[in-house]
Structures are given as C-alpha cells and as structure tokens.
C-alpha cells in the first residue's frame, strides 16, 4: 500500500484525540484532532458518494481555512489528487488551468461558485457537500499524461506564465513526506506548538499545513488581517510560531496599541518574498525579535530556514538543511552565482510536457538549478541576491511578469511593456509596476482605461499599480528585457 498523508494525520489523531488542531480567534473556538478526523471521514464519504474515485484529480476552489484543510485531507483519504484553483484568478486564468491540467471534478465554495462556473466549458450540475460547498463533475478539457498513473500524486500545482512557461508541478505523498521531515530537523514542530497561520493555502500547504497535522501541532486561524487581530490571536493562544508574509509582519509592527507577542514565540517565519531591511528593523524595534526568513521553492520544498536569533544574520535565509546540498554556480572571480540544490522531496515531475524527476536530474548531474542568485557567508548562511526568475509576489500570491506583459502588449495602443516588482516604498510586499511604450499614431490611454482592460484578463493582484509611459524599454546587451527596477530607464 502506498503512503497516504491522510493516514499520517489519522495516526496522529488516534494518539492525541483531544488535542486542539484548529484554534479560532476566540478561546472557545477550537476543533480537536478527533473532531477534525470525524469531519474528514464524513466529507470523504460524501465525496465518494458524489463520484470521486481513486486516481481522480479534483480542483479545489475554496477560501483558506479549516474547511480547506478538511477537503484536501478528505480527497487524499479517497486517494484522489488535488489541484488548487485560487479563486482570486480571473475566469480566463482558471480556463488556462483547465486547458493545461486534466481535472475530473471540482469542489467550490457556494459563495464563489459563479466565479468557477464561468471558467468551465459547460454548466455542471452542483451536488451539495456542505452548506457552504458543492461538488461539480466536469468534462476534462485535456488528457492526463499517461506517466501520471505511476505516481502516488497528492498535489498538482499550476504555475502560470507566458504560454510556453506554464507548468504544473506534480508532488506525490512520498515527496511531501520527505519534505516535511527534512524541514522538521530544523523547525522541530511537535504537539507543543501552536502556529499562527496567515497565508493563502492555495500557495502554501505542502511543507507547512501537512507538517503541522503530521507532527501533532495546533493551527491558529485569526479572523482577519488587522495587526491588532493577529497580535491578539498570537497572545491569546500563546503562539510558538508565526508563518506569514512581510505584509503581515508590517501590519503587526504598525499596530499602535500596547499589544505584544507572547513569550512562548520561538520562530516568526517570513516567506513568499524577500524581506526589506527596514521592515525587519521596525519589527525588531517594536517587538525585540528577529524575523526568520526561509527559502521555499515549489520544486524542492523548504531547503533553507534561518532559525538564528542573531540580528547579524538578518537578511539570510539560513544554512542549507541537513538533507540538502548546496552549490553556487559562480562566474569566474565572483562570489555569487546561481543556486543549485539537491536533496530529498524533489518534485516528482513537471506535468506537461511530462518531465520526470529522473529526467530533470540527469540533465544536471543530480542537481536542480533554481534560477535564483545567491551568496554564502563564512558561517554557511545563504543570502538570496536576486530572484533571477523575476517572479513577483504580492501578499504571498506569486506570478510571472511575462504573463502581465503579454496582456498589456495585446492592448491596441501599447507597443511593448515591461512589468517588474517594486521593493521600495511598497506597502503590500512587492507590487507590480509597468513601463509602457506607446504605439505610433495612437492616443495614450488613461490609467483607468488600462486597469479596466487588465481586469478582463488578470486577477487583481497582478494588475500593475502604476502604468508609466517611457520612450523605450530597457534591454540587456543580449536583448533580454531588464526587470530590475534599479536598472530600468525611465525616459
């Protein structure tokens, strides 16, 4: 019998049935391991009745929270695979997922149902699962790669890009299991831990939520994102870890009450995007604590975590974990270069065209090229110098600039466009800005017109905050677009 992560959770639930798994904003709002197991088993039965079979791939179109976790585990318990369908994506973006990944059915929040049905080719019948959720049997728009049947798939995560760059990352139960054990050599998560969770579960689940349920921890889910709410939830439940984006920590820092962090807190983990130095400094001034940066890659898991409490190491993502090995591919005479890693829990495959782990590793002698640039200090701490893939992250939701550029460049008045993340003076992590070149003999559209145009094709977080007109875009000597804001021409 293959490993199943739902069974790992069930084993934990049998060992500590009364232990709280979910803690809400209020003290009395809690769900124990046994109660959650019963919920997962009940949903599993309803899903089987609705038609879920082992090996099916089910889209999950639901807001983050305890129900989201329950649906993922119920689907795994049915031996089905999960593809997140982030509901903030537009109908066009969701259609892209359906056209790229074979999806047999979807679970949707009733509240968000209209946004999903608009992306499907037919109007599917909605079978109620709970008061808030329905099951939709879909006509899959593409065939699954035949090799998928040979993998005990748990997740297929879609990453959009320009047409040629779209990819699905296939993760098996075994790979995720290896990842969480590799990360836990450093995180040491156990039943004593209460983790304040602040991120989107569509983008963060495999090496975080799964680890918490496997190792018996409790997850604190605050009711909103205000700084005071987060601090209250952390103190009330004596959080030992916080898992959030720079934006969440900034929200806590700017809170003007006297609220503090609980003394039990041992790690304040930052993920999703690089942490600005001033944001880390403000957090330290307010709370007397350093923030713990991490290096997470969907293809690899979490190969580096900075658990140092020293301010000297702020800015580093920490040492490489024991189960991973790190190399830098540095140009001659330079101390920084592309980060290349090998270790446990690598992706099982890219979905289409199918490229297995073995194929990927053969190409690089067993190593995975991250595309990110880094340097390592004398103590072995890794610093990310640049996200060379230029992915932009807004509030923890990631996307490629090429995707937004291709939409902008289809506008009748735009000759060419560059989209880039802005790190300075940004409130929301790393908002996108754009540089645009006007087509000859066209009138310059207003910012409002451009926003309205983008809204037809792009989720809100991908729409540039600024549309700046320039005479020409910036290119490297080899003709590639420059997306580093420090190197962009502005005239």
């Amino acid at each position: 019998m293959n490993l199943n992560l739902a069974e790992c959770f069930f084993q934990q639930a049998e060992q500590q049935p009364g232990h709280p798994l979910i803690l809400g904003q209020e003290l009395e709002d809690k769900t124990s391991y046994a109660e959650f197991q019963a919920k997962v088993e009940s949903l599993s039965g309803k899903l089987r009745d609705a038609g879920v079979n082992p090996g099916d791939n089910i889209g999950l179109h639901y807001q983050s929270g305890r129900d989201y976790i329950a649906f993922v585990y119920a689907l795994w318990n049915c031996r089905a695979c999960v593809t997140p369908l982030p509901f903030e994506l537009t109908a066009t973006e969701k259609q892209q997922i359906f056209q790229y990944i074979h999806i047999d059915a979807a679970i949707s929040s009733v509240r968000l149902l209209d946004q999903l049905v608009g992306a499907t080719t037919t109007a599917p019948e909605a079978i109620p699962l709970t008061e808030q959720a329905v099951y939709l049997k879909l006509n899959a728009q593409c065939e699954a790669p035949p090799q998928l049947a040979g993998i005990n798939a748990a997740f297929i995560r879609f990453t959009s890009g320009t047409t040629g760059d779209a990819k699905g990352v296939v993760l098996s139960h075994e790979s995720i299991f290896e990842r969480i054990h590799a990360a836990n050599q450093i995180l040491e998560i156990g039943a004593k831990d209460r983790i304040l969770w602040l991120l989107s579960m569509d983008y963060h689940f495999a090496v975080s939520i799964v680890a918490y349920l496997t190792f018996g921890a409790s997850i604190i889910l605050p009711k909103n994102g205000f700084g005071i709410t987060l601090l209250t939830a952390a103190s009330r439940h004596r959080a030992t870890l916080i898992y959030g984006s720079p934006t969440h920590y900034a929200m806590m820092t700017q809170d003007d009450s006297n609220a503090s962090l609980p003394p039990e807190l041992r790690l304040a983990i930052v993920t999703t995007t690089a942490l600005r130095e001033d944001a880390a400094a403000h957090f330290y001034q307010r709370f007397g604590r350093v923030l713990n940066e991490t290096y997470g890659i969907i293809e690899l898991g979490l190969p580096a975590i900075n658990v140092s409490q020293s301010r000297d190491k702020q800015g580093s993502v920490g040492r490489i974990l024991p189960d991973y090995a790190l190399r830098l591919d540095c140009p001659p005479g330079q101390q920084q270069g592309e980060i290349i890693i090998k270790g446990k829990g690598m992706l099982d495959a890219y979905y289409s065209p199918w490229r297995s782990r073995e194929t990927l590793l053969q190409q690089n002698d067993g190593w995975f090229r991250t595309g990110d640039l880094g340097r390592v200090d004398g103590d072995g701490f890794l610093y990310i110098v640049g996200r060379s893939k230029e992915m932009i992250s807004v509030g923890g939701m990631k996307f490629f600039p090429e995707e937004v550029e291709s939409v902008l460049e289809k506008h009748p008045a735009i000759q060419s466009a560059t989209v880039f993340g802005v790190k300075e003076k940004s409130s929301w992590g790393e908002p996108a800005w754009s540089h645009l070149v006007l087509k000859e003999n066209e009138d310059q559209p207003s910012e409002d017109e451009l926003r309205t145009y983008c809204k037809q094709y792009l989720a809100s977080h991908k729409i540039p905050g600024r549309f700046l007109w320039v005479g020409q875009l910036s290119y490297t000597a080899s003709g590639k677009k420059i997306r580093n804001p420090d190197k962009l021409r502005t005239i």
Partner: protein, 88 residues
C-alpha cells in the same frame, strides 16, 4: 455614484452575494460580523484604489477605518481629498 453608495453596493454584492442580513445598515459592524476577513479586506482595498483612487498606506490598516460603511466612506473620502490637495 459617490464612495458611500458604491461601498454599500460593493459590500452587498461581493461579500454578501447580493443579500444583506437583517439590520444591515451603514453602521453595521463589518468586523465583528466577520464580513471584513483578510481576503475581503484586500479585495476592498484594491477596489477602492482602482475605482476611487484611494490609496491605503500601511498605517491606515487599522480596525477603526473598516468597522462600518460609514467609517470606511468617511476615511476613503478624506484620503481622496488629501491626495487631491497634494496634487494641487
């Protein structure tokens, strides 16, 4: 449509899916009722920026500005006017 009316329309349409609960007026507590969760707050801020040119800074993200339609509209209006003054 002014900000106040548009906010009311937006909240009913997007957060309440077209059906306002009993007693839903301009002073209805959006935070205690759970309407103003993290997701809706981010969507609302994006919407106000795009439709009404109201730019929220990190220091503006405090509950008192989000507690009701009245509070939101008053704050959004003042932000928009102060931005316009800066431009003038």
């Amino acid at each position: 449509m002014d900000i106040h009316d548009d906010l009311r329309r937006y909240i009913i349409k997007e957060a309440l899916k077209g059906t306002a609960p009993e007693g839903f007026d301009d002073d209805y507590d959006l935070i205690e009722s759970g309407i103003m969760d993290s997701l809706f707050m981010m969507n609302l801020i994006t919407y106000l920026g795009q439709q009404h040119q109201v730019e929220f800074g990190m220091n503006d993200m405090v509950p008192k500005h989000f507690t009701s339609i009245t509070a939101l509209a008053t704050f959004a209006q003042s932000k928009r006017e102060s931005s316009a003054d800066e431009i003038r």
